[in-house]
Amino acid sequence: SQTIHQWPATLVQPVGSPLSLECTVEGTSNPNLYWYRQAAGRGLQLLFYSVGIGQISSEVPQNLSASRPQDRQFILSSKKLLLSDSGFYLCAWSANRGPNNSPLHFGNGTRLTVT
C-alpha cells in the first residue's frame, strides 16, 4: 500500500532563517506531488505541484520554493523565513493516471512557527 511521510511534525524557526521540509511517498511511482498551506480560517491553499522529477509549478508568488530531486521526494524550502510563512504545511500525492482524477492523499502536516 502507498504511504506518505512528512517531517518534521513541528518546527519553530526565527525570522530570516532557512527552511527545508521534506515529503516522501512510498508504494507508488510517478505520483503527482503537492504542497499546500493551511492558515486559520482560510482553508487550504495550493502552493506548488509537480508532475515529475524537476517539474515544479508555482501557484502563488511567495517566499518559498519547491524541488523534486527524486520521483517520490518533494521538498519545500525557503532561504529566509518571514513571519507570514507561519502555518500548517501539508504534502499530498495523487496517482498520475491521465484523464482520470484520483483522490489526494495527505501527509500529517508540519506546523511551522516563525518567531
Binding site: 512528512q6 480560517g41 495550493l46 499530498a92 491521465g98 484520483s102 483522490p103 489526494l104 495527505f106 502536516g109
Partner: protein, 114 residues
C-alpha cells in the same frame, strides 16, 4: 476558475442527531467533488468523492453526499453523529482536466455535544 463555499464556519450537533454540512461550488463544466475530514493537528482524510454517475455517493464512516447540479451543491450528511466525528470538514472541487488541482473551501468545524 473553480471556487467552493462552505457557509458554516462552526456547527454544533448533539450526539445521535443527524448532520448536514453545506457546500456550494462554482465551476463551468462537470466538476469532480470531494469531502475531506481533518482531525486536530493531522492531515486530511478522504471521506468520499463524486466523479460521475449516481448523484448520491457513499463514503467512509457512514457519511454520504448528494450532488445537485441545479443547486451547485454537494452537501455532506450523516444520519447519526458520533462524538468521534468532531473534526473539521473540507469540501473541494477539482477540474475535469485530468489533473488533481483541487480548490478547497474554508472548512466547517463540527462540534458534537453529549
Amino acid at each position: 476558475a473553480q471556487s467552493v463555499t462552505q457557509p458554516d464556519i462552526h456547527i454544533t450537533v448533539s450526539e445521535g442527531a443527524s448532520l448536514e454540512l453545506r457546500c456550494n461550488y462554482s465551476y463551468g463544466a462537470t466538476p469532480y467533488l470531494f469531502w475531506y475530514v481533518q482531525s486536530p493537528g493531522q492531515g486530511l482524510q478522504l471521506l468520499l468523492k463524486y466523479f460521475s454517475g449516481d448523484t448520491l455517493v457513499q463514503g467512509i464512516k457512514g457519511f454520504e453526499a448528494e450532488f445537485k447540479r441545479s443547486q451547485s451543491s454537494f452537501n455532506l450528511r450523516k444520519p447519526s453523529v458520533h462524538w468521534s466525528d468532531a473534526a473539521e470538514y473540507f469540501c473541494a472541487v477539482g477540474a475535469s482536466d485530468g489533473f488533481q488541482k483541487l480548490v478547497f473551501g474554508t472548512g466547517t468545524r463540527l462540534l458534537v455535544s453529549p
